[in-house]
Symmetry: C2
Subunit: 539 residues, 2 copies
């Protein structure tokens, strides 16, 4: 062997050893809770958590079954690894003493109503009980059960299984956390028309949303491709489903709403009218202006509005959330003009097709409002006839930047979903662009800022189905979730590659450990597979 070759081999060997033996450590200056709490302090103690952790409730709302269910759920998450048993080490059966054996949850309000702006604040204290402190070992205090749920999520993220001691530990105790969301609306859109999602899958996604403290499932149920949901008043509508198995019964929908509620998540339903509604005509062809003009819905027939009214009456019984999305985007009215009876109807009223589009949207709004809904509409409605929209309208941005500033300047409320950053089907948007998109950008007056309800990431499903939807959603939805929850100052300063990225890697691995198919954070395109062997923690 030549000396040069020997040298090369030695260097290669050293590099290889370094690669393997680099003991990965978390950056101890960071807080590995996602999204970052509003205010917190930590210490330098390590506390052990009893696998037999017990729940102690107090307050008017403490006895809620929502709390009990959530505690059981989180216990299963926290104590995934069984206790040591006796195959190898008998002495492990001696039950050790734990620092944290009680979690006290105090909930002030008895009300379980879940509406926009519900109080999600909570305090979480974790400290060793020295027998003198009035603070229990771990205490969550909240005004509502939903605040307590957020506190439980945070508590679960503080709990880490330690493979050395084979016990769950809380590092950096004592913890004092005072937390609340920056925005009241933190949404994820699911599209069940382009591909049907089984209820099991929708539940998996709702469960994962709760890990990132998202609180609105925007259910884009119906679109031009399929009409999967049962509408008892118009029972032929779901003949527009792809197949007779790709449907949701009323009971399914109700179950989804209830499953979400137990996790503090509202379900906002959408019917996207008058465009994106071709599938409605499968059961009721009269809703199509003609066989060759099947979208937008027929503006000239009262039947169209009867059906909308029927749908909204039925849905009102299923969806208690005060917001209802009426769509209104991408309406191409050309074929109204080429359908004789619609053309006649327009002429009789001296309306342009653009007028008719406005007429349709406003009439749908009236129906929704008459049933007690607050209407949400995609931004085209605002862009086209802002001054005529019902003042309670919430405008849903999607086309690009700069929309919410205009919306709130006119006194409307706004939801931010700029497609350049928050459309999850745009696979070329990396995590940091999702993270840095700011709903309040360009809005500097406090009263106008308050009209921005929050934002939503949108999982349009043209090229996403059960097989790949979770890794398209995660981890990028988490980047938006922190933007929507955490204090703007805390997450907008400094170098996010140092302050956020390691925490997002960690949260992605946490999702994986909980069985969520979150994709690698730094893939060139979203949801791409890893490029080679390696750690989830991306050494």
């Amino acid at each position: 062997m030549s000396p040069g070759l020997l040298k090369s081999l030695i260097i290669l060997a050293i590099l290889a050893i370094l690669r393997l033996s680099f003991a990965f450590q978390l950056d101890d200056t960071l807080t590995y809770v996602w999204p970052l709490p509003s205010e917190f302090s930590s210490g330098d103690h390590t506390l052990s958590v009893d696998p037999a952790l017990s729940l102690v409730v107090s307050g008017d709302g403490g006895n809620s079954s929502i709390i009990k269910d959530a505690f059981d759920r989180y216990k299963r998450i926290i104590f995934k690894h069984g206790e040591s048993f006796s195959i190898f080490q008998m002495f492990r059966y001696i039950r050790p003493a734990y620092d944290i054996s009680k979690l006290k949850i105090e909930v002030h309000s008895r009300s379980e109503e879940l509406q926009l702006g519900v109080d999600e604040s909570y305090s979480l204290f974790v400290d060793k009980n020295d027998g003198q402190s009035i603070i229990a070992e771990a205490t969550i205090e909240a005004n509502t059960v939903y605040g307590a749920l957020r506190g439980l999520e945070t508590f679960s993220q503080l709990c880490m299984f330690d493979y050395g001691t084979k016990s769950v530990q809380i590092y950096k105790a004592p913890w004092y956390i005072q937390d609340k969301p920056r925005f009241s609306y933190r949404g994820l859109l699911l599209d069940t028309s382009r591909h049907y999602l089984p209820i099991t899958v929708i539940k998996q996604i709702i469960e994962s949303m709760s890990y990132a403290k998202l609180n609105v499932l925007h259910w884009h149920i119906i679109d031009e491709q399929s009409f999967p949901i049962e509408i008892p008043t118009y029972p032929k509508l779901w003949e527009g489903s792809y197949t007779k198995w790709e449907r949701y019964t009323v009971e399914d929908a109700y179950e989804i709403v209830n499953f979400a509620k137990l996790r503090g998540i509202n379900v906002m339903a959408e019917i996207d009218v008058p465009g994106h509604a071709e599938s409605w005509g499968m059961g009721y062809p009269d809703l199509w202006p003609s066989a060759s003009c099947r979208e937008p819905l027929d503006v000239a027939k009262n039947f169209t509005f009867d059906v909308i009214s029927g749908i909204l009456t039925d849905m009102r019984k299923i969806f208690p959330f005060e917001l209802f999305h009426l769509g209104g985007d991408e309406v191409n009215t050309d074929c109204w003009n080429s359908t004789s009876h619609v053309k006649q109807w327009l002429q009789d009223r001296n309306l342009t097709t653009k007028d008719a589009y406005q007429y349709f949207v406003l009439r749908a709004q009236e129906i929704a409002i008459s049933k007690g809904w607050t209407p949400v509409n995609w931004e085209e409605t605002f862009n086209t006839f802002a001054s005529n929209l019902h003042p309670r309208t919430i405008v849903h941005n999607w086309l690009g930047g700069g929309v919410c500033p205009k919306v709130v300047a006119k006194g409307f409320r706004c939801i931010f979903s700029n497609q350049g950053f928050w459309y999850l089907d745009h696979l070329d948007v990396p995590w940091d662009e999702v993270y840095e998109a700011e709903p309040l950008e360009g809005i500097n007056i406090t009263s106008e800022q308050e009209l921005v309800l929050g934002g939503e990431v949108c999982m349009w499903a043209e090229i996403a189905d059960t097989s790949n939807i979770q890794q398209t959603i995660w981890p990028r939805a988490a980047a938006a979730a922190e933007r929507l929850w955490s204090r703007r100052e805390a997450i907008s300063s400094g170098n996010i590659t140092l302050t956020a990225l390691p925490r997002l890697h960690y949260f992605r691995c946490l999702l994986n450990r909980r069985g969520v198919q979150a994709a690698p954070v730094e893939n060139f395109y979203a949801r791409q597979p890893p490029i080679g062997p390696g750690s989830c923690y991306e050494l």
Copy 2:
């Protein structure tokens, strides 16, 4: 408008209507149970199944908790859709009469031992009880609890939720099914070294395996990249894990084994020696011949075999399955020759490196056998020194075709995993090539055919992690599962595009409904997203 344009528009409109209004029907001549049962007959009645379905057990093994647990699990699967309730139709509260309100399970044997060749046969009868028949409404009869589990899976696949009546129905009753597997070994390999898989994810995969009646999880735990599992006798070995969170405790492994057992699935562990073992040296660098030669393991030290013996002693307590995989593939011995003490050792014994490779494998086999294991080795061991292998050796084919014929001709047992068809990380292999790969190809003598234990699909994880492993496994693993379960004549004749493909589409949708991320069946590459909106059932 020109007449030509009008005509075109009409044709387009008709085509569009046809696309949407095509009411998808199952091909009624096919049996939508996957894998196809061995013998069955069906009728033309439709029976309703009571959501309060009760279990009646009998036989010596009927009282097993395995049966009770499985029944509860399958009830949750079968009755995913809640019963109708009263939001819309009060009268639905009148409890209807159901045809099937009891499932009788008779298990003859009390033994719950799960070993290679365990009796998985079962009979399933489903008929309306007219009060005269001695056959209960639905009856599963099996010799073992594991046969009963297979019967429960089949029963669950007969049950379909009908959106019209909002009840679970069994079509084409009465059913008389006599079923048993063609092969006793029907495996899936999971590789937790190239990417760590959380225990929750491994459990999800085990659960999904049971849907396709696969019965062996081949756990390729360790490889050169990481050593994730705890070995109490050599506690520094898992220092070779990627991070301190990407590990399995003894208790985790035991829990996985137990979780699998409850689903009739054995776990076969593997340590792949002497190659594919670089990570072992992270905790014990003495296992490396030198810093620049870290693989294969040091053949010259007794310590190497002490560690193997320690691992096998520890693992024997965790893994009750009689088969243990010792690897033995892709051994490049070049650097043994360039390591002075190994070279000296070889010279002292007058051994070539090839001799030393044989020496290593045979000594590892002896250790395994001394601890009561049956050794399994990758085919290179057979290809290199067949005549010296222990006669109990099971040879695991992977490199290509024609290997099992040679293996069984020499009297060894064989597992078929031809990488050209059954390596799931080969994304370019379409479902039909997976389906048509035949473990008995080229083996015509019955006594030799009996030496083929079955086969295994291999999910190597270089480019698969939690985010995408399930859609890489499914649905192609199901194609192999039917090959391994069903009668060869039944699945090898006719045009599989007509006989198998529609059933595989259906089974993929069933997996989706159960929350498994199975990918579209006919994607050009495996695990690709759908190319546009559409039905799971691929109209």
